[in-house]
């Protein structure tokens, strides 16, 4: 029971990172109807930017956070301009947008790899442990130990999710985003600058991926340019579980995947945790592609 509670606390902070990451996927999918497979590459860049700020420039965690959000948001906007917009203007098939985002993903990851090798003589690097609050918070009654960093990660992640939810449902730009997501052409007729909404959406998604990547690095310390591969399919599973394009669904999906991973690690060992997740992805795609909460696609179109 003790280990179970301990594992559960770990699952919650991991789930927060997955949820942040999956939110970006879901945001882009809900507004554009395309899947941005380069999202995981932006995640990897979030960790890299944090590493550069903290290791090479001597910045603190808040500075790294802001740098990761801004840089990754800009990278994400560049993706929209170079990889998605030209195809959308040509009315290309959704598959072409998928292919161009795969191309962008490989490009970005390889670029990150080159930066790692230039800066650290290696494709692996570690965050400076001294700058990460590692104090253990011990809850005696439940016999749980959590590092302060994991708690901070969870709190910031939850705060960002609330802000995003308010932004989408309450603000003017959120209203415009929902209008574009509902019908791009009608939104344009109503005087909404659709191109600007797309750019803003990509900035938000990229910023979230950047934060998630930085947090992943801060929690696991050791990072490399391929950490995006670890979460790419996990994030996809999260949004498939939650229903593609549903923002709340992505959050629930992220926590759910982390829980499933943790349970299968406890029961069967860490070798199988991803196998279980992908099996779940498979089954959901086949039997309930609209996810736990979504509506069937036919009623959306």
């Amino acid at each position: 029971m003790d280990t179970f509670l301990q594992q559960a606390t770990n699952a919650i902070s991991l789930g927060a990172i997955y949820a942040l990451f999956a939110l970006g996927y879901a945001l882009v999918f809900s507004i554009l109807g395309v899947l941005n497979l380069a999202h995981s590459a932006i995640f990897a860049w979030g960790a890299l930017i944090g590493l550069i700020v903290m290791l090479n420039l001597g910045g603190s965690i808040p500075i790294a956070l802001i740098a990761a959000i801004v840089t990754c948001g800009l990278i994400s906007m560049a993706l929209e301009v170079f990889a998605f917009r030209p195809l959308r203007q040509r009315n290309a098939a959704r598959i072409s947008q998928l292919i161009s985002s795969i191309g962008a993903a490989i490009f970005l990851v390889s670029l990150a790899q080159i930066v790692y090798i230039r800066l650290y003589n290696n494709s692996e690097a570690a965050f400076p442990r001294a700058m990460i609050p590692a104090d253990l918070i011990v809850i005696e009654a439940l016999n749980i130990r959590v590092t302060l960093m994991r708690v901070i990660v969870l709190l910031i992640a939850l705060a960002l999710m609330v802000v995003l939810q308010l932004l989408v449902t309450r603000s003017r730009i959120g209203q415009q985003m929902r209008a574009v997501s509902f019908n791009q052409r009608i939104a344009a007729l109503l005087g909404i600058n659709v191109g600007r909404i797309y750019l803003f959406t990509f900035f938000l998604a990229g910023g979230l991926a950047g934060v998630a990547g930085l947090f992943y690095g801060l929690v696991f310390i050791q990072v490399d340019p391929f950490i995006g591969d670890d979460v790419a399919l996990i994030g996809l599973t999260a949004i498939v579980l939650g229903g593609m394009g549903s923002i709340q669904g992505a959050v629930v999906g992220g926590f759910l995947v982390a829980t499933i991973q943790t349970i299968s690690t406890v029961l069967g060992g860490s070798d199988y945790r991803n196998a279980v997740v992908f099996l779940l992805l498979f089954l959901f795609l086949l039997f309930r592609p609209q996810g736990l909460f979504g509506q069937p696609e036919s009623s959306r179109a």
Partner: protein, 305 residues
């Protein structure tokens, strides 16, 4: 001919890898030509490679037997995978096939451990079990693959493809790509055609895997991950899938060019990524696409006139 190639930096091994890429390009050509976006071919390549390598290392079978078994087993596995998965369309199909690839990779890595654990539970003592070699893969596979095998295989494939395109089945494939609903209304059994095409692609990918294993001697599960799936996709995208020449040219050039330009391995990903991005944005039909080139030259002439 060979001397001229090696002066460019293309040794015989590189040429053989280029031809294997061409085979893999043809394997994804079938599904793309039918309008299905499947990224499962790297997994079928892995299945072929492992089956072939097991037969030659454990049972001393010749290449012919390995080839037939590898291709057949890849095809057999494709049947129960394709039947449920092919109901999905574009991005959903892509995600499902990526997931399938990951499951195959995890299976290959953990197979030995699982068997060892089962044996231990039965016998009660610690047993070492080594068949697939876990993450280190299978080593010292005999090098059976020769250049003429590959050239012959590509020639046979292209002959069969040209025959196929003129057949009823081939036209059904094109019809499904253009409009699935209209094709179904014309009496084409869409589900049947899609499944057969998926299996054909798997069989070719399996054969490519067998050739690959008996060329590079040492295979590991990580060779057949998402990166490989994307490489295979890139062959078809670069060449285009308007005709079978496209994936062959795409496979040959994408594997050959890094050798000719003598890139360091670090820049390979940057190169492949940019190629995918630029081709899909500016040359959506791929490079081997006569109509696109004609339009391109007309535009050039008009701007200079």
């Amino acid at each position: 001919m060979l001397e001229w190639l090696s002066s460019l930096g293309i040794t015989e091994v590189v040429l053989q890898l280029m031809l294997i890429s061409a085979i893999m390009g043809l394997s994804i050509y079938f599904t793309l030509y039918t309008g299905m976006f499947s990224l499962a071919n790297a997994a079928f390549m892995a299945i072929g490679a492992y089956v072939g390598a097991l037969l030659s290392t454990q049972l001393d079978q010749p290449l012919g037997v390995c080839l037939i078994a590898g291709a057949l087993i890849a095809g057999l596995i494709a049947i129960p995978i394709g039947w449920p998965v092919l109901r999905l369309r574009d991005i959903y199909l892509a995600i499902a096939t990526i997931g399938f690839g990951e499951i195959v990779r995890i299976f290959l890595i953990n197979f030995d451990n699982v068997i060892a654990e089962i044996l231990r539970n039965q016998t009660g003592e610690r047993v070492r079990y080594e068949l697939l070699g876990g993450a280190r893969g299978i080593r010292t596979i005999p090098t059976y693959t020769e250049t003429w095998h590959l050239i012959l295989f590509v020639l046979i494939l292209t002959f069969l493809i040209t025959r196929l395109h003129r057949s009823r089945f081939g036209r059904a494939m094109a019809a499904i790509r253009q409009d699935e609903k209209a094709a179904a209304n014309l009496g084409i059994n869409v589900v049947y055609v899609k499944n057969v095409v998926f299996v054909i692609g798997a069989v070719i990918a399996g054969a490519g895997g067998v050739f690959f294993a008996h060329l590079i001697r040492n295979i590991t599960p990580s060779m057949f991950g998402f990166d490989r799936a994307v490489d295979i996709l890139a062959y078809a995208v670069l060449g285009g899938v308007t005709s079978w020449i496209g994936p062959i040219v795409g496979g040959l050039t994408l594997t050959g060019i890094p050798e000719i330009l003598r890139f360091s391995q670090d820049y390979r990903g940057v190169f492949i990524g940019l190629v995918l991005l630029l081709i899909i944005v500016y040359f959506p039909g791929g490079l081997i696409n006569p109509t696109a080139w004609r339009a391109f030259w007309q535009r050039v002439r008009r701007t200079h006139a």
